[in-house]
Structure formats: structure tokens, C-alpha cells
């Protein structure tokens, strides 16, 4: 067992409260000064099945999925078979022998009986089992009791003294058992605490997108629920009154995107949040945005396709879908935050870019990023106020006046002396429908000219690792997390990674970075290497070495390390 980096996995049925443990434990650990990271995998069902969450506790910052399990807590009999391939002889299994002991085969593993159910019953009933579990782990880690006690008070006092009291009891029983275990199980942990961490924030990717939207001035969201993107809708709904956000659950995705465009037209800063299948329905709307030169922010949370696919799993399979979405030709921007911090900053930026350049801007995430969380320094909110790129119109206002940079000042109805005319048909400078075919050509040129301004502020790819690399990993979005940690483990001075957080248009430095590498390795979570194809269009280079995964789970640190080692030793 790695003494400075612990991986705890809890597995059970949907509805057993794994998420409660996850929230409770990670907050407590962070308050205690530990770095934490949590990621979950779950089935598309409300009860039953097998879901699991991995919680990492570490001396260093960690932000990626690890195959290795140091401590495993199976909550039902299926949990062991569900994750058996990840258990090793090192794994410490904390199992309620009374409850599931007879039903599972744990021959050959290090199993310790922890009577979660009985302890919970003693505390007041089966629903306290989760608190017992937190207590056990807190006890094993030697956390001071005050911290989980604070959490219990903070969370449960609204539910009454009785609930608080019983949780306290459950916690106490758990911690006691845990302390005992720490000694008896030969656990030899040496995870460094850092008091600064206790003041950090913990946010999931989806919350970071939501807060980034609020920071970007989002005041309108219309969407239709769809995993893994619904969290943005619920987050903004929760804060609708406070931030003044119009939040509407549309009847379908087509309505959602058309509402968002109507909202921008009337002066709002609107977004939609969806997944691939829902986005597929929005493409005509994206094309409309292109034609009317409307800003639009689209959060596209990816999950495995085609069609309904695996609704609660992760993939990076919709890059080309977004890039080529909508009929006809018009500019767009695609951002792909890989870290939770980037999810915040880039979503904020998406609103700025959309508004300034009058184009659709995509924020592409995936389930693994949306649901993962870790501790981090609070975001920098200083010195920003949302710029609105709208103008007060004058009497002769023409929405599509042709300008050298392709951008026409954007007016909105009711603000100024002009009229604001939009048309989905080809139109003249005023916005009225036209069949003047020379003007058509000029209007296409005008719309495409907007690309110039966009190209002037592309976010460059981030080079991670030694500048003198000879082997270069290219990746985009959330894959960077496992890549980064695998690289740290490998510690090679010839290996770097180029992390793209803007995937369209690509930064001009891209070709230079690639040219410097002797070997390029493309890593992405899909089956056809979509990003590699993009790089080929941009650079002409064929990337032969690829690490692709498309079973619905994110890359683990170990598999990246293993596959990279394989490729690099060739």
C-alpha cells in the first residue's frame, strides 16, 4: 500500500447512499488538510445495479482515476464481482461479514470484518450505516473527531437534534472501529497534511461549468435534461433568483436552442447544456446562430454513443459532431476544459468569446470530468466585470453592415432608435431577405471573415513536461488528468504532453510543437481518434501511435503508464 497516496473505493447499489459517503468523507478529509479526489462510475438506473466511487487521499494533488484500490468497501454482494479485476492481494477489504459475508467469495484477499449494519443499528437504524463508514475511514486516517462532527452539525441540524445525535453516535462508533483497524491492519499511512488545503474549495466539474457560466454573465438557460449535462441546469435553477437567471426546462432540445437564440437577440446571455443525442437535435439551431451571427454558448457533456449509448458513462466521441455541426459554413469556437479549474475559466471565457465574436462557442466536457471533484484553490474572481458587446442602435441601424473584420455591431430590440432585423434566409445589411447573389457572396465572406478575430485570441495548447521532449503526447479535454499523473510517475525527461483546451480553431503553435517531437502519441477517449484527424488537417501529420479507449470509463493512470511504456519502448 502506497503510504502517501491512498485509494478508497466504495461500491454498492444505486440508492445505497454512496454519494453521501463521498461528499461527507471528501469534505472531512479536505478540512483535515488532505488532498482529495473523487470519481464515480454508475449505471443508468435509479436503484440496484453496481455503482462505485473512488476517493483518493494524497500528499500531492491528485485528479485522476486510479485502477489500484487500497481500501475496498463493498456494500452489497455484487460489489466484489463488479470490481474484482481491480482488487489485489494488497487491497484491504472492509466488509460487513454479517450482512454479505456468506454470499461473496473473498478467498485469498485481505478481508477485515466491519459490522457496519450492526453499528448503524446501535446508533439508531440502518440509514446511519453511511456515517459509520465515514467514521471508520476517518478513524483509520486518524482524523480528529471535531471535523466530522462539524460536518454533521452543518448538514443535519436542519433535520433536528435527534438526527444529529444519532449521526454523532454512528460516527463515534465508526471512528472507534477505524482507529482499532488502523493498528490491527498494519496500515502504515504517511499522508502529509497541509493546513492551507482546509481553506480550499471542492467542486465537481459540472459545478465549475455552472459557476463559470455565472461568472461569464449567463442570465438565461433553456435545456432539456440529459446526462451528464443536467447538473448545469439544476445548478442555475438553484441560483436563479439570486443571480437573476431565467431558467427553463424546454419541451425538447430544439426548443432549448431556439430559445437561447431568442434570448441573445433580446439582450440576454444564454446557454444550453446537453449531451450528444440532444445536441444532434440542436444542429439546425447552431446553423441559425451561424446565419444570424448570434452568440450562443453550448455545454456539450459527452457520453458514449451512438444513439442512447451508455447514458451515464464517459467518452470523447462528439468532437467532430460539434466541429461540423449545422448545415452551411460559418465560424465557431470549441473549448475543451480538461481540469475543473479550466472548466470554470473556459466557460466564463465562452460567454466573452461568443458575445464578442457573435458565434456559437462550445464547451466540451464529458461525464468523467462532470462528476469528478477535488480540492483546489478558490478561483480568481478579481477584476472582472462582464463586458456586454451590444450597442445602442441609431435610426439607420443595420444589423449586418459589412465591415472589414466581418463583425457588425450587435443591437437588440428596444435599446436605441433602430430596428433589429434577423433572418435565417440570406439577407442584406439591414437583415431583410435577399436574392441578390453578389451580396450573398459578400455575406458569406463577411461571416467567414469573423474567423480572423477569433484566431487572434486562441488559447494555446499547454505544454506539460520538459521543453526538450522527444516524445510528445497530444490530448484534449479530460484525458490530460490521467496523462499528467502517468507522466509524473514515469518521470521521463524526454516525454511531454500537449494539452489542448481549445480544439477549434487550433493555435498556430501546434505544428511547431508537433514538429519538434520524434514520436507523437495521441491519447483520447474514442475509437476513431477524432482529434488526431483534426491535427492532420491542421498539420498534415499522420499520428501513428494512439492510445484509445471507448468502454465508457475514463483512462486510469496505470493504463496510460502501461501503454505509454509499451509505445516508448518500441
Amino acid at each position: 500500500m502506497n503510504s502517501s497516496d491512498l485509494s478508497v473505493v466504495i461500491c454498492g447499489e444505486a440508492g445505497q447512499g454512496i454519494q453521501t459517503v463521498e461528499h461527507f468523507l471528501t469534505r472531512v478529509l479536505k478540512h483535515a488538510g488532505y488532498n482529495v479526489f473523487a470519481t464515480k462510475e454508475y449505471m443508468s438506473r435509479i436503484r440496484g445495479g453496481s455503482n462505485s466511487t473512488e476517493i483518493r487521499i494524497s500528499s500531492r494533488r491528485v485528479y485522476a482515476f486510479l485502477d489500484r484500490i487500497d481500501i475496498f468497501i463493498p456494500l452489497d454482494k455484487d460489489a466484489v464481482s463488479h470490481l474484482r479485476h481491480r482488487l489485489s492481494s494488497e487491497t484491504l477489504i472492509l466488509m460487513d461479514a454479517e450482512k454479505i459475508g456468506t454470499q461473496v467469495d473473498v478467498e485469498g484477499y485481505r478481508v477485515v470484518n466491519v459490522p457496519f449494519s450492526r453499528l448503524a443499528a446501535e446508533a439508531g437504524g440502518p440509514i446511519y450505516a453511511n456515517t459509520v463508514a465515514v467514521g471508520v475511514l476517518a478513524g483509520m486516517l486518524g482524523i480528529e473527531a471535531g471535523i466530522p462532527e462539524w460536518y454533521i452539525k452543518d448538514r443535519f441540524s436542519s433535520k433536528g437534534e435527534d438526527v444529529v445525535g444519532k449521526n454523532m453516535q454512528a460516527l463515534g462508533k465508526g471512528m472507534e472501529t477505524g482507529s482499532g483497524l488502523a493498528a490491527s491492519s498494519g496500515l502504515n499511512l504517511d499522508i502529509t497534511k497541509d493546513s492551507q488545503i482546509s481553506d480550499e474549495i471542492i467542486l465537481a466539474g459540472i459545478e465549475a461549468v455552472s459557476m463559470g457560466a455565472l461568472a461569464g454573465g449567463c442570465d438565461f438557460i433553456a435545456s432539456y435534461p440529459m446526462s451528464p449535462s443536467t447538473g448545469v441546469l439544476t445548478f442555475l435553477a438553484e441560483h436563479a433568483a439570486d443571480f437573476g437567471v431565467v431558467v427553463e426546462q424546454a419541451e425538447d432540445e430544439i426548443s432549448a436552442v431556439n430559445m437561447a437564440l431568442g434570448a441573445w437577440y433580446a439582450g440576454a446571455r444564454a446557454m444550453v447544456t446537453t449531451a450528444g443525442g440532444g445536441f444532434a437535435l440542436m444542429e439546425e439551431g447552431v446553423s441559425l446562430a451561424g446565419m444570424i451571427e448570434s452568440p450562443l454558448v453550448i455545454h456539450l457533456g459527452q457520453r458514449p454513443g451512438p444513439a442512447t449509448g451508455l447514458p451515464t458513462r464517459s467518452e470523447q466521441g462528439d468532437l467532430e459532431l460539434a466541429l461540423y455541426s449545422g448545415h452551411g459554413e460559418f465560424p465557431r469556437i470549441i473549448l475543451a476544459p480538461g481540469t475543473i479549474e479550466d472548466a470554470f475559466y473556459l466557460t466564463r471565457r465562452a460567454f466573452y468569446l461568443a458575445d464578442k465574436h457573435q458565434v456559437p462557442v462550445f464547451i466540451m466536457t464529458d461525464q468523467s470530468l462532470a462528476d469528478a471533484f477535488y480540492n483546489m484553490a478558490p478561483f480568481d474572481l478579481s477584476g472582472f466585470e462582464v463586458e456586454r458587446h451590444i450597442v445602442e442602435t441609431d435610426k439607420d441601424y443595420r444589423r449586418y453592415v459589412i465591415t472589414p473584420d466581418g463583425l457588425s455591431p450587435r443591437g437588440i430590440p428596444g435599446y436605441g432608435d433602430g430596428l433589429v432585423v434577423l433572418d435565417s434566409d440570406e439577407h442584406d445589411e439591414e437583415g431583410h431577405i435577399t436574392e441578390d447573389l453578389d451580396l450573398r457572396t459578400r455575406m458569406v465572406d463577411k461571416r467567414l471573415a469573423g474567423m480572423k478575430g477569433i484566431e487572434a485570441e486562441i488559447i494555446p495548447p499547454e505544454l506539460i513536461g520538459p521543453a526538450g521532449y522527444s516524445n510528445l503526447i497530444v490530448c484534449w479535454g479530460s484525458t490530460i488528468n490521467a496523462v499528467r499523473e502517468a507522466m509524473e510517475r514515469m518521470g521521463r525527461d524526454d516525454l511531454a504532453a500537449l494539452y489542448f483546451k481549445q480544439v477549434h480553431p487550433l493555435h498556430q503553435d501546434t505544428a511547431g510543437y508537433l514538429a519538434k517531437a520524434g514520436k507523437i502519441i495521441n491519447i483520447e477517449s474514442n475509437a476513431t481518434a477524432q482529434f488526431a484527424r483534426l491535427l492532420k488537417i491542421h498539420t498534415g501529420l499522420d499520428i501513428e501511435d494512439k492510445i484509445l479507449k471507448y468502454n465508457g470509463l475514463p483512462f486510469s493512470v496505470e493504463e496510460i503508464e502501461e501503454k505509454l511504456s509499451g509505445i516508448l519502448s518500441m
Binding site: M211, D219, E248, D252, A268, V386, V420
Partner: protein, 287 residues
């Protein structure tokens, strides 16, 4: 207000001579002028089709969007800036076929907008296929032996959805249609005005004469607050009633109930965009 305020002057109008749309355009301008609505405070959202070209032919702010998709942007415009007067306009194909789902759900939401549908019982712009309201037996290049599916009954459906305001009019009668339209725009909440509109090119059955002969006006004996009576009237098929069928007594208005307006009545674009403090608090709650 002078209806000429809405006039575009000498423009090329893409409709066929004799088309019922001309009449609706005049009615619309007159009604808006009589209601003293400043063109700058008016937004007309339309889809695609012959009817959907209407807003190009009067002075107003306009959002001529996608086929079938007028209602969602219209709802959003009103939600983003409730001070605007919003009209969603289009043809029967636009609103009831491609846009059918939005029609249903806009009625449920009940934004304070007026939904004007030019019902010519045919697809005009795409050259004469059946529309949802095409009558049985109507022969077209696609329905070569005549329509045999049940025509869509927009009024009955709207009443079934407890729509806030439901009316039918006829483009051939400018006076009464103007009055109905004015009432619809004045009505607070979603208001449907389905207007029978002769298409002189592709619908040789439902002509001016046909509409004249097959319609009559609801009179005072009809109580528009009586939903079941309104429904019965809406299902009449021998002669088709015109007028205000139904006004729902107590529908919540969409934008009035949005949380965004709970503490602040300003249109969204007029609000401060400094959210630093609120964001800080939010971040702190994530500690």
C-alpha cells in the same frame, strides 16, 4: 397612431397577387397602430413559409428564424425583456406541423405573446403539399388521391390545453379580424389567433368564397369562459365559427413567475453584470 408608421414604403413583396396574406398584413399594421404600439417596442418572431415572411413587410424588430421554430424564440424574447410586445407569426405548416411540439408547450407555458397563424390549409412556399389543416379529400402532388388523415384542429387542441386566449378569424374580413387581433394582443398571456387565409395559387378549394360560405361569427350567446362550450364550438365542422372561442380564467403568466424577476423587474440586459460578490459567496459555500 398612424398605421403608416408601420409602412415600409415601396418594397417588393414576394406574395402572389390576390393572396390573403396582403389582407393580414394590413390588418396587422392597423391593429398595432390602433393599439399605439411603437414599432421599436415590438418584436415579431416568425418561422419559414409565405406567412412567415410577413414581418419583413412592416416596420418592426423581427426575428425570422427557422421553419417551425417561432414560438421558442418568441417565448425567450419575452422572458429576456418583458417590456417588449411579442408576436409569433407563421403558417399552418410552420406552427402545427414542424412546430407542433412548441405550439403545445408554449400554450402550457403561457408567455404573454400573441400567436398569429395564417391558416391557408396548404404548404404555400413549398408548392402545394397538404398541411396539417388541409381538409379531407384535398388533392396535392404528394396526397395524390386526397388527404385522408384527420385535419389538425388548432382551436380544439388549444382549448384542451386550457390556452389563455383562443380565437379564429378570416383574412377576408378586415374589420372583425382587426378587432380580434387587438383583443389578442391586449390579452395578458398566450393568445392564439388562427386566421383563415386564402392561398389563391395552391388551394383552389378553400377560396375566399368557400371561407365566406363556410364560416359564421360566434355571438353573445357564446360564453368564452365556458371551456366545454368552447370546445364544442371548436369541433363544429359544417360551418366554422369565427371569433373569440375561449379565454381561460386563471392562467399564470410564464415570465411573471420566473425567479429571475422575483427581486428585480428590469429586463435582463439592463442589469448589472457585476457578480463578483455573489460568486465569492458561492465559492465559499464550496469549501
Amino acid at each position: 397612431m398612424d398605421a403608416r408608421l408601420y409602412d415600409m414604403g415601396n418594397i417588393d413583396i414576394a406574395w402572389c397577387p390576390g393572396c390573403g396574406n396582403f389582407s393580414i398584413l394590413t390588418i396587422l399594421k392597423d391593429a398595432l397602430a390602433e393599439l399605439e404600439i411603437d414599432p421599436h417596442d415590438l418584436v415579431i418572431v416568425s418561422g419559414i413559409g409565405q406567412a412567415a415572411k410577413t414581418p419583413h413587410y412592416l416596420k418592426c424588430n423581427l426575428f425570422n428564424g427557422l421553419h417551425g421554430r417561432a414560438l421558442p424564440p418568441a417565448t425567450a424574447v419575452k422572458a429576456a425583456n418583458p417590456r417588449l410586445t411579442v408576436i409569433a407569426e407563421g403558417g399552418d405548416g410552420d406552427m402545427y406541423a414542424e412546430g407542433g411540439n412548441h405550439f403545445i408547450h408554449a400554450i402550457r407555458r403561457n408567455p404573454d405573446i400573441t400567436n398569429v397563424v395564417h391558416n391557408n390549409m396548404v404548404y404555400g412556399l413549398t408548392k402545394g403539399q397538404a398541411s396539417p389543416t388541409s381538409q379531407k379529400g384535398f388533392v396535392t402532388p404528394v396526397q395524390i388521391t386526397g388527404v385522408y388523415v384527420e385535419p389538425f384542429n388548432p382551436l380544439a387542441v388549444a382549448i384542451a390545453l386550457d390556452a389563455s386566449f383562443v380565437a379564429r378569424a378570416f383574412a377576408g374580413d378586415q374589420e372583425q379580424t382587426r378587432e380580434i387581433l387587438k383583443q389578442a394582443v391586449r390579452h395578458k398571456g398566450y393568445a392564439l389567433v388562427d386566421i383563415f387565409q386564402p392561398c389563391v395559387t395552391f388551394n383552389k378549394i378553400n377560396t375566399y368564397k368557400w371561407f365566406k360560405e363556410h364560416t359564421y361569427y360566434l355571438d353573445e350567446t357564446h360564453d368564452p369562459r365556458d371551456r366545454v362550450a368552447a370546445f364544442a364550438r371548436a369541433t363544429e365542422s359544417e360551418r366554422l365559427p369565427l371569433g373569440v372561442f375561449y379565454i381561460s380564467p386563471d392562467r399564470a403568466v410564464f415570465e411573471d413567475n420566473l425567479l429571475a424577476y422575483r427581486d428585480n423587474k428590469e429586463p435582463l440586459y439592463l442589469r448589472s453584470t457585476d457578480r463578483q460578490e455573489k460568486l465569492s459567496n458561492l465559492l465559499n459555500s464550496s469549501k
